[in-house]
Symmetry: C2
Subunit: 431 residues, 2 copies
Amino acid sequence: MDIAILNIGDELLAGKILNTNQFDIARKVTPLGHSVTRALVVGDDESAIVDALESILGRAGSSRKERSSPDVLILTGGLGPTRDDLTRQAVAAWLGVEAGENPEALAWLAEFLRKPVEEIPPGQRLQASVPAGTDPLRNPAGTACGFSFASGSTRVYAFPGVPAELDAMADLHLLPSLLADRVFLQKGLWTWGWSEGDQRQALEGFVLPAGFHFSSLPGDRGVRLSLSGAFPVPELEVREAELEAAWKALTAVIPPDCLVDLQGLDLPAAVFARLLEQGATLSVAESCTGGGLGALLTETPGSSAVFERGFLTYSNRAKVDLLGVPGDVLEVHGAVSEETALAMAKGCLERSGAAYACSITGIAGPDGGTPEKPVGTVWIAVAGAASAMSSGLVEAHARRFRFRGDRHTVRRRSALSALNLVRLFIQGKSI
Amino acid sequence: MDIAILNIGDELLAGKILNTNQFDIARKVTPLGHSVTRALVVGDDESAIVDALESILGRAGSSRKERSSPDVLILTGGLGPTRDDLTRQAVAAWLGVEAGENPEALAWLAEFLRKPVEEIPPGQRLQASVPAGTDPLRNPAGTACGFSFASGSTRVYAFPGVPAELDAMADLHLLPSLLADRVFLQKGLWTWGWSEGDQRQALEGFVLPAGFHFSSLPGDRGVRLSLSGAFPVPELEVREAELEAAWKALTAVIPPDCLVDLQGLDLPAAVFARLLEQGATLSVAESCTGGGLGALLTETPGSSAVFERGFLTYSNRAKVDLLGVPGDVLEVHGAVSEETALAMAKGCLERSGAAYACSITGIAGPDGGTPEKPVGTVWIAVAGAASAMSSGLVEAHARRFRFRGDRHTVRRRSALSALNLVRLFIQGKSI
């Protein structure tokens, strides 16, 4: 189906709020096989809304249309209780009807507010009003009622603009109708360190079964790959088998070290899961990231099972005091060096009693770079017991990175790359 | 001026990329006194782009227009070298002309690539092509050339969609024409802990001088307030005085503790500046934030002057080992308590040798809450020498918070609230 979006709100046009609603709707409908073909934003202005409706749908009731109308039009915003919320009136004006209170919507509002109808203030009560002849849509997450109607071959939905409310209403009212009687199938995973060029080459011979959608979404946690499709119930068994086969073929061409987790976990969650499986703990010793690695490790609920302590050793003195890095290592090789990174990881391992330790030391910039160690140079080391058999023996490896980008980017890439090295190390892979 | 935006790109409609370009353009032009009145997104499709141009500008060359045209139309995207980059062709088709290589644009491209023209591959070279009769616009940050032309009373700019390139080109080509011969004046600051309701009430009597724009942008670092305006050079002295007076009036009604920094610094930068002024250092002891406070403190370049070390004491054992928190304090009061927070801060102060120490201990959720200590309960303490005169005496204060929201929100609010308490404490204010 061909889907259009009309976002309504002065705050979107004035740069007060980043418009995430277009993005969120697109992410919901695209995997189901539908396409957003155009998206508009207008302000809280009745004639601008009416103009936008005409440009998308033509004149209400007119059979002559200048452009092909979408199958679905989603309006967001302008349904709140304040006087700049004008979507109801504008749609009513475009339809040539009045907006009025809907008894069903009023009952939902009373239930949501846990108040008898008589105690709802008039401003709030306005939110139970919809254009005459349209169907009210319950809002499970807020007070603004939505509504829906057909215009020619287009089904129109009006949802609130508050992202959490839009999300809940789209799931409740929009997705079931887009799914029709089909079932949605999806499998996804994260890759790390697999370049777009390599991906394209590796997937050249990859044949997607009919009806499935492949997506590759780059983000700061790597690239999220997914296969998805929506199918009628009778086809389900066949489609699931097709998805399974395509998934096997896809995962087989990903270099194993680049595949973060077969179950679809991202880097922090995958490291957490591997440590949990081993019943092992991890400690960190951070310099340039200043806590960024610890913050990632503790974002997963229950992380206390695997993360017990960490050291933020920003200065050389802290590296000596807290981790026992020898002063001459710092003097001879410098704070940003293989030797210092290894000494930090080993000291962290020893002083924390954890099964594994990870250290980061680098130059995040913008200043502090030299010709030999330019800004973006980062050493990351991981240490652990060499094997369960040989207690006391420590194995440690370090790797040098050269990250591009600003201070924020260098620090973020450092923390995520460290997680990736930990992931490889604790699975016994070379780093 | 009335400004319209047309973003072009399949990846925007498919939910692959969040459209930040609308937002970034709006944030540039709104403070200059201009308004974005509508924004559209269409895919990489020649007829969709032509349709969008017609809906905004009418038919090219036609004097009859269905709707009032904007003063400025900004196109973004579709100027790259791949076959789905169709903006040049679509604009040419709409104008009824051909697109062709522009010698000036080709010279810029060669200069940017540091290659002789003959060595530029044909695909790259395509980016020096513009619709006949339009003016090429130099791209200082990339290879895709932009272009500009007048259509009736509308000035149209076509810029690349890559945010950094769009940003550079808007600054170079768009802003000077929007400023005309005016000078842009602006003053801004951050507030923390000043509710929207209180702000509205306090600013009720506040009179904005004519031509100035007030904005209040909430974000996770507090609320950014600003006054801005663009004025002709001869008025400058008068306008600067007006801005100064309005600024004084504005800052006078902000509760002093809620005003982060008069120079406009945000919380991390303000804490850094205050510590630097005092020549003092700060250490941190983090439990539920797991490094989030340290990461904020070290995001400012040069932070090693004030931040030397920190302790991530996620477990009780780490709190005892690394900070000397007495075991019976943990046993009697629990890890999330005033007593533990104070013991953490004092232990951190003593063991780090820093001038100030800050501790955070709380329940980030989603599990771990109890009726007495629900999820979102966080204790934050700050400690420092009682006065320069009485060395050895430590002053320490703790405060209890109850944050709403998910794990991420609780952790983020905890780290930022800790920075705010540090800010108040080191200025000798009660927390």
